[in-house]
Amino acid sequence: MNRIFIFLMSLLLVHVSFGQENETKPALDTADLSNLSIEELSKLKSRYVATDMEKSIIQAIGAASHKPLPLRKTPSIVSVIMEDEIEKSGARDFIDLLKLIPGVELNVDVEGVVALSFRGMWANEGNILLQIDGQEVNETAFAGLQFGNHYPITQIKKIEIIRGPGSAIYGGFAEYAVINVVTKCGKEIDGITGNLLAGQTGNGFAHQNVSVAAGRKVNDFSYSIHALAGRGQRSTDIYRDVHDKTYDMNGNSSIRNGFLDVKLAYNNLSFLFIYDNYATEIRDGYVGALTKTYPCNFTSYMSEVKYKKEWSPKFQFQTKLSWKRTLPWEFEGQPAPIDSSYGHYKIIADRYRANVNVSWDPVSWLNGVAGVEGLLDNAYKPDGQLFKADSTARVNYFNYAPFIQLLMKTRFANVTLGARYDVSSAFGSAFNPRLGITRKFGRFNFKLLYAASFRAPSIEDIQYSLNKVMLNPEQSKTLEFETSVKLTKDMFLSVNIFDVTTKNAIRYFVRMDSSNNGDPNGYRNTRNVIGSQGVEFEYKYKSSFGFINFLYSYYTIGNKKCDSANAVVANRNSTLGIAQSKFTFMASINAGKYLFITPSVNFLGKRYGYTHVDGLGNAILSVFQPQMTFNLYAGCERLLKNASFGVGVNNITDERIVYLQAYNSMHAPLPGLGREFYLKLNYNFPFHSKSKSD
């Protein structure tokens, strides 16, 4: 750790010490402004040509507040991944992009699902909200997410990552963070594009994806359609369960992905439909390796109608109606006798949402947003199964939430005050206020942020509650402070510290003395107040040279308590399965007008995970030494007119990648992909004669 901090400080000093005031040169100017009035000057478009980095700093971030604000004024710690970074990074799927976010790590849940942890906290179910084009992607039954050749990245315009709570805006699925994916609209696609990804490891295929997108804007009407079909494998390595049973994941861990995203817009009215099918094959059961593979599917349908009306420049009205149907963890087939604890599982969970809000700027220094959101969750089990707690085939929960936000520009700082009050028929109520103070001093910018947030118990959390006791919402308080500095017009550096405290954490409790109780396992609120503290660091450079991204994150739970399910006996600063230190370095170097080469390195510090059990059935903890992977991607943005391609090798040294379970539930480390050679091809058929590559 000391070496890392010394490194970071020296990096900072290098740049500060070079900080001789070097004024930018005035633009060559032949315009005659001499006869312009003040009003005409004020309306004159800025004649300053901003660099790519400056544009990224001033871009509006939509996910961190009800009213979009520039990056440095948003009342949240925010990372942004832009379209060109996605393209030139050589990312194969969403997992590669998550490596570019400080604090985010991937861990195995159960049954082959790889999901997120954040800032040292396991964060799969309702802790992190993923949105695609404003649609909540988390499935409704458990509120979880699944990564690995899932969620297409080919038509992404940008990803906004709110590295902090979002409940004051989004409610009960955004306790720790929000990932907001913005895809291209019809005008930005303006043609037909096709993308191909093929990747191979030494043992078998890894990725085989094809996607097509079309979009156009004609007068006031805009449309875009994006479809993807793909297959991949979780790993081509050997899985060894805690009982030392093994199987080859090559051919036993397939992932099939079908995705369709349709967007229509006419004037102020817009419509969206998303279909997402994630069909996996699993053999890593929660009781150990199964005798054969079983399909486990996750299917979602999402749709939304949105209407936005601007009554005046100072007063806007917006209403949204949405419907989401999810069928998660759909387990099919007849299990073999030895896998008798496995059975058919099917749930259809619908979520209906209505949201109305108004935005008003009564004076130049104040903006207010107020509204109300209603949610109706309706779930049923169609195949004769019953919900566990209620012993019915259908359950309904209703939630309503008034919310408010005030943005104030004062002489001393920009202040954000907000709150959301969720009232639920399932868990009572949760009040989540937030306060954000941002201040710019020359090239420096400061943010002081406080927010309360919560994780709403999901439908199956409630139904699988331990001893049918009503679950309380999991509640967190997060304090953050960020300093950022625009080192040059091409360089940006931000450093933040955080303190997260969570009470009533919802955890699945596996009771070892099952013989005493016929219903031994289930969700319950932990008694300990848990949490983490840490530091995150992001450095970005972008110019005609290319770009450099360097990020580092560190957490400790040394000053906090930890739930027994997540504790590491050997190290009280670390939680189970999650590395305390993480860094990623990526440099994309332009070689000529169209060629680029992008080396990158991903590092995870020491981790702890349960790997096997002893003769008495006690789980044995193992230490996983730091893991470093090297990757290389090279591409040509213009192979032919309108066509581009890239080739890459991921995990060059063929490090053994493993996803550790971040809680003690006897799942052995799940292997990931080894060295993979891959190829990406893109073809763009523009509707207008001037192609993007021109």
């Binding site: 490194f7 005035p26 009035s37 300053y48 002489r411 360089m491 590092f603």
Partner: protein
């Protein structure tokens, strides 16, 4: 961990090779000059002046831009003259432009020009607490557009009357 050390070394070398010059955001001085010309045009001094002296403290490209502009408009009324001055001369002009490089002198300038009918213009934002009437700033949120803050209180204290043309397009501050 040898690999880690090696990696840090490589990162340091690569970042060291990247051009690391610092910078400050510059105004569009040609635009600022036209703004200043218009400020003079729409500000009333009592008694009315037939000639206006514009003094610039410090080195600013706005000086050349203003001189060129004034040369173009030499038939206008009142007649304008532009010159570079020292801090001690600041009370002898009608319009005072404090360049960005000289804003650390602003307290001294405020003391010398206190309550005098001088339109004090600063090339730095949030200078109203030092008696500055108009402070230029670059609005990052508006694609780095040049804008200005106006303190009506300071104008009033200096017995200057600024017209609606100036007020309507300003960010008003105390």
């Amino acid at each position: 961990m040898n690999k880690t050390r090696f990696f840090f070394f490589i990162v340091l070398v690569v970042l060291g090779l990247v051009p690391t010059k610092s910078y400050s955001q510059n105004f569009d001085y040609k635009e600022n000059a036209v703004y200043v010309y218009n400020f003079v045009k729409y500000t009333n001094w009592a008694p009315r002046k037939s000639s206006i002296q514009i003094g610039i403290i410090g080195n600013s490209p706005v000086e050349d831009a203003l001189k060129n502009l004034v040369a173009q408009k030499r038939n206008g009324s009142p007649t304008l003259s532009v010159r570079n001055i020292s801090v001690n001369e600041s009370k002898n002009v009608d319009v005072l432009i404090v360049s960005k490089s000289e804003t650390d002198q602003i307290k001294k300038i405020a003391a010398i020009t206190a309550n005098l009918p001088i339109l004090v213009i600063a090339e730095k934002e949030n200078m109203s607490r030092f008696g500055v009437c108009i402070s230029f700033f670059i609005d990052e949120d508006n694609n780095y557009k040049t804008q200005y803050q106006l303190s009506l209180r300071n104008c009033k204290q200096r017995k200057l009357s600024v017209s609606e043309q100036i007020q309507n397009n300003a960010v008003l501050i105390r």
